[in-house]
């Protein structure tokens, strides 16, 4: 591959990475709105029930959905900011090269896992939509909300691929800092 071609490819990849991370941030924005709604809805339900004897119907189901959306759509961004916890104690004692390899292996394991999660949850979500599943109290179909998992897993997979790419680049430059 010629130098010009490599540069073009890398600039396309950088753009793709930018777009993916933009979507991840957008999901966090949606999660923020859901979080505030979760807080207000829960408090309004308690106040309504305790002071006016009028609880808000379907609060629990709606709260569960909000939490689900917030967490599952937040998977990729949490990965982006290194928010998923790991024990670095042993790995930090490795030399930079071994450390970079351990990091790439950990990311590949995560990628394999979430590819399976994506595949299985997608099948399940499609099935629930086709079965026309409904909520117990809330109106409307329940099936579409199951797409939170495959969508979250898909973007987490993309984020893991980005990080594996960075890890390989780091390895070529001599290892992790």
């Amino acid at each position: 591959m010629e130098l010009g071609e490599i540069r073009r490819c890398s600039s396309v990849l950088i753009k793709i990475e930018k777009y993916i991370r933009y979507v991840e941030k957008l999901f966090i924005g949606i999660g923020g709105v859901l979080f505030m709604a979760l807080m207000f809805l829960g408090a309004a339900d308690v106040i309504g029930r305790y002071f006016f004897n009028k609880p808000i119907q379907g609060t629990l189901e709606a709260s569960e959905l909000m939490m689900g959306g917030m967490i599952l759509l937040g998977w990729a961004y949490t990965m982006q900011i290194n928010g998923h916890v790991k024990v670095d104690l042993v790995v930090n004692r490795y030399n930079p090269r071994a450390k970079a390899i351990a990091n790439i292996v950990a990311l590949i394991l995560g990628l394999g896992l979430f590819c399976l999660v994506f595949w299985q949850s997608l099948i399940l979500a499609i099935r629930f939509v086709n079965e026309h599943r409904v909520f117990q109290i809330l109106p409307g179909p329940a099936g579409p909300y199951h797409f939170f998992v495959p969508v979250g897993a898909f973007f987490l997979c993309l984020e893991l691929i980005i990080q594996i790419g960075h890890g390989i680049q780091e390895l070529r430059e001599g290892g992790a800092k």
Binding site: F35, M39, L60, E64, G74, H84, V85, V91, W119, F148
Partner: protein
């Protein structure tokens, strides 16, 4: 290969993956899924991977976790912690080690509205450490008391460790919250005693400060009222049976949000940062829970906990010896893992055993959290020590050596709680 051998191998592989830097949540899920593949076949494992994330991300029992995290974040941005520290200093600053005493008191009160000990450590590392440096406090004592004071957040309600323990063991979260109050206060008192004792023996480590008139102490206690009101609202509501822990979380988060607004400490960018931090913290905790649930399914299929329980019941030793062994195992495990991961890893195996031995689940929840706190302060993976070291720029080794007297106090608190279980069980027993 028998299911028990497979499950023990699974535990070994899990610890190996942890040590090699694989994310805790991912390691739990990978080993759990592989174990189910071996014991039940690939279809069962794939179904588990497809269903578990949605089931637990939308589990109503876990709703309290994000809400209490949000409450703690709002309290943090409202700037109450700085004022709490100032008030506590005006109250006890005149004594030997006054600033360290104030840090511990402020940590205790802050714990009443923040359920994450690392957040408390970061907060008081930023606020109290510069003050202690200004007054020539010993660096080991200063950082040690910040790390130890931060630990109180996990014991004094609301506490995420209690929520998780309650969900996993079907123990009342409200009862666990209430049960943590007296042990938290005892530990706080023991910390105060040891700080005073150290500084009295060697006044250069923590010289006494200025004496403030009582009027000024009262005047500055305005911020304490905010925290007190929030605490009474949340815990009082739970205690009186007005609302569930999840509802208490909603009310607490809304109360903290209003406090931050009234104090004019919350603008749009602050709100964005509060929400982002809360979502990412919730996300990593819930992802670990999802992974751990896949792993615990594998353990349940293998029958490890039942076999272990049967084996231990055949041993002719006192139940107290077994409990002490369990607690020592937790101290060792806590040195390498954080409290939440430790609870998730061990509860499916240990809890049935503890119940079969006749121990109270609420009391065990308190003991487990207390022992987890020791893990947060002991090498090699004392998370609170790393946070304090990061904030104060004091070398980790120095913080670890400063923490020793406080770890001893925690051990004393554990012995007291063990001998007098009613200290933690009394308040839940009178709960409505």
């Amino acid at each position: 290969m028998s299911p028990i051998v497979i499950s023990l191998l699974g535990l070994g592989i899990l610890l190996l993956l942890f040590s090699q830097g694989v994310h805790i949540a991912f390691a739990f899920a990978i080993v759990g899924a592989l174990g189910v593949v071996i014991l039940k076949g690939p279809t069962a494992a794939l179904t588990l991977l497809g269903t578990t994330p949605y089931d637990y991300a939308t589990n109503s029992a876990l709703l309290a976790i994000p809400l209490f995290i949000l409450m703690g974040q709002f309290v943090y941005v409202s700037g109450i912690s700085q004022e709490l520290f100032n008030t506590a200093y005006k109250l006890v600053g005149r004594f030997h080690g006054g600033l360290a005493l104030a840090t511990n008191i402020a940590g205790t009160i802050f714990g009443a509205c923040c359920g994450v000990s690392m957040a408390a450590c970061a907060t008081f590392g930023t606020i109290a450490y510069p003050e202690m440096v200004k007054y020539n406090y010993d660096r080991k004592l200063a950082t040690g008391c910040i790390a130890a004071g931060g630990c109180l957040s996990d014991l004094i309600p609301p506490s995420n460790a209690f929520i998780l323990f309650g969900v996993l063991t079907s123990t009342s979260i409200g009862a666990l919250f209430i049960a943590g109050i007296i042990p938290g206060l005892i530990l706080s008192f023991l910390n105060l005693v040891i700080i005073y004792f150290i500084c009295r023996r060697n006044p250069t480590m923590g010289p006494p400060g200025q004496v403030f008139p009582f009027k000024e102490v009262l005047k500055s206690s305005y911020s304490v009222l905010w925290v007190l009101a929030l605490f009474l609202l949340v815990i009082g509501g739970l205690f009186a049976g007005i609302f569930t822990p999840t509802e208490a979380g909603s009310i607490g988060a809304l109360g903290a949000f209003i406090i931050a607004l009234v104090r004019r400490k919350l603008n749009f960018s602050g709100l964005k940062s509060v929400l982002t931090n809360s979502i990412t913290t919730t996300c990593f905790i819930l992802t670990i829970i999802i992974g751990a649930m896949i792993f615990s399914k594998f353990l349940a299929i293998s029958g490890l906990s039942a076999t272990l329980g049967d084996w231990i019941s055949t041993l002719a030793i006192s139940r107290h010896v077994i409990m002490v062994c369990i607690l020592i195992m937790y101290v060792i495990l806590g040195m390498f893992m954080d409290v939440l991961s430790m609870i998730l890893l061990t509860i499916p195996i240990v809890f049935p055993l503890v119940i079969s031995l006749g121990f109270d689940p609420v009391w065990f929840g308190v003991m487990l959290t207390l022992v987890g706190e020791i893990g947060l302060l002991t090498p090699p993976v004392g998370m609170n020590v790393f946070v304090v070291s990061g904030v104060t720029k004091v070398p980790v080794g120095e913080v670890f050596s400063g923490i020793t007297p406080f770890v001893i106090m925690m051990a004393v608190a554990m012995v007291i709680m063990y001998i007098f279980p009613d200290l933690s069980l009394f308040l839940p027993s009178i709960m409505m």
